[in-house]
Amino acid sequence: MSWTELSYIAPILWLVAGGVVVLLLEAFVPRRDSDHLSIVSAVFLVLAGLSANTGLVRTSQSLFHGVLRADAFGSFFALIFVIIGLLTVSLGAVYLRRQSTPMPEFYVLVLFATAGMMLLASSTDLVSVFLSLELMSIGVYVLAAIERNSSRSQEAGFKYLILGAFASAFLLYGIALIYGTTGTTQFEVLGARMGGNAALAGNLVFWAGWGLIIVGVGFKVAMVPFHQWTPDVYAGAPAPVAGYMAAGVKAAAFAVLVRLIWTGMPLLMDKAAPLLMGFAIVTMTFGNIVALAQSNLKRMLAYSAIAHAGYLLVGVLAISGHADDAATRGILFYLAAYALMNIGAFGAVTFVSRRRGERSELAGFAGLARRHPWVSFFLAVCMFSLAGVPPTAGFWGKFYVFGAVIQQGMVGLAVIALLNSAVAAYYYLRVVVYLYMREPGEDAYIGDDVQASAAIGVAAILLLWIGLFPSSVLELARLGAAALARTF
């Protein structure tokens, strides 16, 4: 553990330091409100963001005996997580201000869980994958249950934890089987051994290991049928946390999935493609169909999250393993856009919510545009982005991912995905209908918080900005994808 190595993981260290500082501040400088803590957290997140991506553009450095890898792929995700963290902290501050009891642990947990996400995205060892996944998850379990006065929140946390631990056991089983059959947990060695080993290709235990790892990661990305926690937990957790989960946990899990797929290319794809294809189709179709029947924004977003997991899996299927892989690039871009639109959408729930009870029924959003034209506009942008309407970032995400799929010759799969997103437009659109074209009812929601609307605004404006000028984000995504190609 040299200083050089530590300097590569500076973003993670900043976050951990930030968490500790917030913890100490809370213990020794107690205050009634916790706004100062949100500022401290934001400062450390910014420091983490600034320290990311330094000198990693063309290098790919193995760290700590192959446990982590510092490369552009990891730093792309580090930047995403910093943005997610910043938006979550600012929405969380709004949420915390409304609570009767202080819960400064919110910031600590967000910082630590974000560190876990970064670790996960840089992990190149199955042991490290397991540990950082748990570091992230445990933080998020508590975050989901953070509203102590609400048994809904705690039920959400508990359900997530039980199912998460259940899934972890399967993931661990998969790791055990792969370790046993290959004798290694390190991605690089694993990739090398898979490359020149015919016996391994026919080894059932080895493939069962991969299958169980897909189960474990599939749980985190909400792949059907491992998705069941998603609607309940999104609905029960406070909106800022739900947004954080939708954006961050999904991105981190896809990061590790993409790294794993690259490690096992091309053998893994040959074997797993039909299986993954089935899961991808079922996942997006199920998510979209059930989302049609939702009348609650948070639940709708949960099912939409499932559907988007399906789209992303379609993208994963198109990973070719060649240098300059279009699918990987598309997935990275998609995840960045997806994170913003979800945080924006859940932010709107934060915006209209009150101390007692969260407000996320669609009916309550009726006519919101008259009272809050800006927030409505931002929310509409998020919805259009989710639906993939140009020129928002969501359009480019879909364009890139599905384009890569077609380029790989999987036209049928792309057709299914595109039909799915055509259906999906219906329920995203319904939100816009409510915002702009419905008379507000008696219990119509109103919001008053400037900070919340600013956070949603940042997300929406970034979405538009990325949609209009996608080149910078795409360049980062390209570097990230290229890092994988060069490494393995």
């Binding site: 039980i162 491992f226 926690w229 169909i289 595109l418 259906v423 702009y436 080149s471």
Partner: protein, 673 residues
């Protein structure tokens, strides 16, 4: 040949968009005058810039008529370089001129029409946004940017249809429009991705979606041209309301009348035609796709026209008429006469916008009465509206020398060269068009007044801001076609000549595609279109064209005559016919106006059978409404409600289904290894 860069092209788009942003940001806080000025002046600015571009273009030699404005590199990474880049070639010049021109007139008209409406500012913001999006669509030099405009106009159309959102049916209509368009967009997007797949990595880092690059690489596209052409056309059927996706347009008439005039007559619905014409280099590679375009166009024209005959709602008549005329335009593109199609797009924009705005004027005067059964005799009370609408009627019916005559004649002539059957359909539709438009005029302006007693004395001509646009468009409906004065009448068809460079590729490509035995015929068409070329070809076609023109003029006049006779003189006959025909027919027409017995036997009954049973009830109500629109939504919604029962909150069930998933994976692995 290097295109000339002119930076003002972007301002054609940015002016209305800026206006929309300004009006949107200062939500409901500006005085009416400021709103009106900002909204209409930005569009006027666009019009003036378009005119400047047009004249700049005209000053250039024929082969070099291309202005571009590359704003920035949108997507510069890897194989897929995409620019935000605008261009004006002769085709675009025509489009932007009439889009901005008509839009400006409609803005002026709206100032009067929307006076006192609560959402005045919001309305103009949407209208400006729409114009901006439409201009992006036609100015774009590549497909993805065109798609932005494509989706953008769909969005604005949706917003404007649902403008009076107090009426729930309106937002439902908006939803229908959006959804049908999404189905079309699905095809469009897929087509675009197929192009990317075909061209990626083969065009050397250029903007592979730009029309120029695609046109240069038609040999690469040729193997998949049919698939791409059909997929893109699927998008066009959605946007331009063709079979089977035409159902949204009549419902879309729920919005304010100027919106119908702008979006559902003059501009947005023609986007599909524009796109097909723009992609002419691709379509000529694929006779199959061309045939599909032509057949769909002809069928839509016929079906919509027969439906229009039976409608009582004045806006519904115009809506179906629009669908029918759009069919004409596709028919033209399908037979390779892209120039004629665009010509009809332009003339149609003039007279159909006029018809809608005239109808709006009537509706305005009658306190939102849209049912023609409660109109009549308005001729003397609304003279300006009457005269201008009469001109538009003559134009759409194809009476010489009104605008519609020239464009319709050209379409029919070109169709005749390609297929006699399609020509016969088009010819019949021409007669039907004259008939139902006459019916509309007769019921609205002639005969005795059937206006509600309470309002009958209040009926008066609309204010100047509404009548001036009517008059301008009336003049355009008369003279707008003269720029395409055909050779056989001693003109030089300057419109065709003007567009010829754009469709040059197309003509050559078609000659290649048709193979040896058809090459002569195809090149004859090419020469006819190039017009100033081979004198002999023109001459040979001249007599046929003249004969066809006379025939269609005769049919139009016959249609008009029959229309007037039936609806002014023989209403008693119609009344008797209704009783004779029994309740079923009454149910069909839901009104008391019936066509003559002969028409009933010859046209309405088959037309009814065709339109109502086959297309309306089956296609629209059953298939489209039931399955596609509500179907996807409702039946999937029901399925969704069932599936969400899986989400029963039972932790153990979640763990169980999780385990089932694991079983599936393990079972798969055991079976396949």
């Amino acid at each position: 040949m290097h295109p000339i860069t002119v930076e003002y092209l972007r301002w054609i788009v940015l002016l209305p968009l800026g206006g929309a942003a300004f009006l949107g940001i200062t939500n409901r806080r500006l005085p009416t005058v400021v709103v009106s000025l900002v909204a209409s002046l930005t569009v006027l600015g666009s019009f003036l810039l378009s005119a400047q571009a047009f004249f700049a273009l005209r000053a250039l030699p024929t082969a070099g008529r291309l202005l571009t404005d590359r704003v920035y590199s949108w997507m510069p990474v890897g194989d897929l370089r995409i620019d935000v880049s605008f261009m004006v070639d002769p085709l675009t010049a025509v489009m932007i001129l009439f889009v901005t021109g008509v839009a400006f007139l409609i803005h002026i008209y709206s100032i009067g029409y929307m006076k006192g409406d609560r959402g005045y500012q919001r309305y103009f913001a949407y209208l400006n946004l729409f114009v901006g999006m439409m201009l992006i669509l036609v100015l774009s030099d590549n497909l993805p940017l065109l798609f932005v405009g494509w989706e953008g106009v769909g969005l604005c159309s949706y917003l404007l249809i649902g403008f009076w959102f107090e009426d729930l049916a309106n937002s439902a209509a908006g939803k229908k429009a959006f959804l049908v368009n999404r189905i079309g967009d699905f095809g469009f997007l897929l087509g675009m991705l197929l192009i990317a797949r075909t061209l990626a990595g083969k065009v050397g880092g250029e903007n592979l979606f730009s029309f120029a690059v695609m046109a240069q690489h038609t040999s690469l596209l040729a193997p998949v041209a049919t698939a791409i052409g059909l997929l893109l056309f699927m998008g066009a059927t959605g946007k331009s309301a063709q079979i089977p996706l035409f159902v949204w347009l009549p419902d879309a008439m729920a919005g304010p009348t100027p919106v119908s005039a702008l979006i559902h007559a003059a501009t947005m619905v023609t986007a599909g035609v524009y796109m097909v014409a723009r992609m002419n280099f691709l379509y000529v590679l694929t006779p199959t796709a061309m045939a599909v375009v032509a057949v769909i166009g002809a069928l839509t024209a016929l079906v919509a026209a027969t439906i229009a005959v039976t409608q009582d709602d004045i806006k519904k008549v115009l809506a179906y008429s629009t669908v029918s005329q759009l069919g004409y335009m596709f028919l033209a593109c399908g037979v390779g006469a892209f120039g004629a199609g665009i010509f009809h797009v332009m003339t149609h924009a003039f007279f159909k916008a006029l018809l809608f705005m005239g109808a709006g004027s009537v509706i305005h005067a009658l306190h939102h009465q849209q049912d023609m059964r409660y109109m009549g005799g308005l001729r003397s009370k609304m003279p300006v509206t009457f005269v201008t609408m009469f001109a538009a009627m003559l134009a759409i019916s194809g009476v010489f020398p009104f605008a519609g005559f020239f464009s319709k004649d050209e379409i029919l002539y070109n169709t005749f060269l390609d297929s006699k059957v399609l020509w016969a359909i088009g010819y019949a539709v021409a007669g039907l068009t004259a008939f139902y438009m006459t019916r509309l005029l007769a019921l609205t302006f002639f005969g005795k007044s059937r206006v509600d007693e309470e309002h009958v004395h209040e009926v008066h001509e609309s204010p100047l801001s509404m009548t001036i646009p009517l008059m301008v468009l009336g003049v355009l409906s008369l003279i707008g076609g003269w720029i395409g004065w055909p050779h056989f009448l001693g003109g030089s068809n300057r419109f065709e000549t003007w567009l010829a460079p754009v469709f040059r590729h197309g003509m050559e490509g078609e000659a290649m595609a048709h193979g040896a035995e058809n090459a002569v015929h195809a090149s004859a068409a090419a020469h006819a279109a190039l017009a100033h070329g081979a004198e002999t070809a023109v001459h040979a076609g001249g007599s046929t064209e003249l004969a066809l023109a006379v025939a269609s003029l005769a049919l139009a006049l016959l249609g008009i005559a029959v229309g007037f006779v039936v609806y002014l003189r023989r209403l008693d006959v119609a009344e008797a016919a209704r009783r004779a025909a029994g309740g079923r027919l009454y149910w069909l027409l839901k009104g008391k106006y019936f066509v003559d017995e002969i028409y009933e036997a010859l046209i309405v009954r088959p037309g009814y059978w065709l339109s109502d049973i086959v297309f309306f009830r089956f296609t629209d109500a059953g298939l489209i409404d039931g399955v596609l629109v509500n179907g996807t939504a409702r039946s999937l919604g029901i399925l969704g409600s069932v599936l969400r029962l899986l989400q029963n909150g039972m932790l153990r069930w979640y763990a169980y289904s999780f385990t089932l998933g694991v079983l599936v994976i393990l079972f798969y692995l055991v079976r396949h290894l």
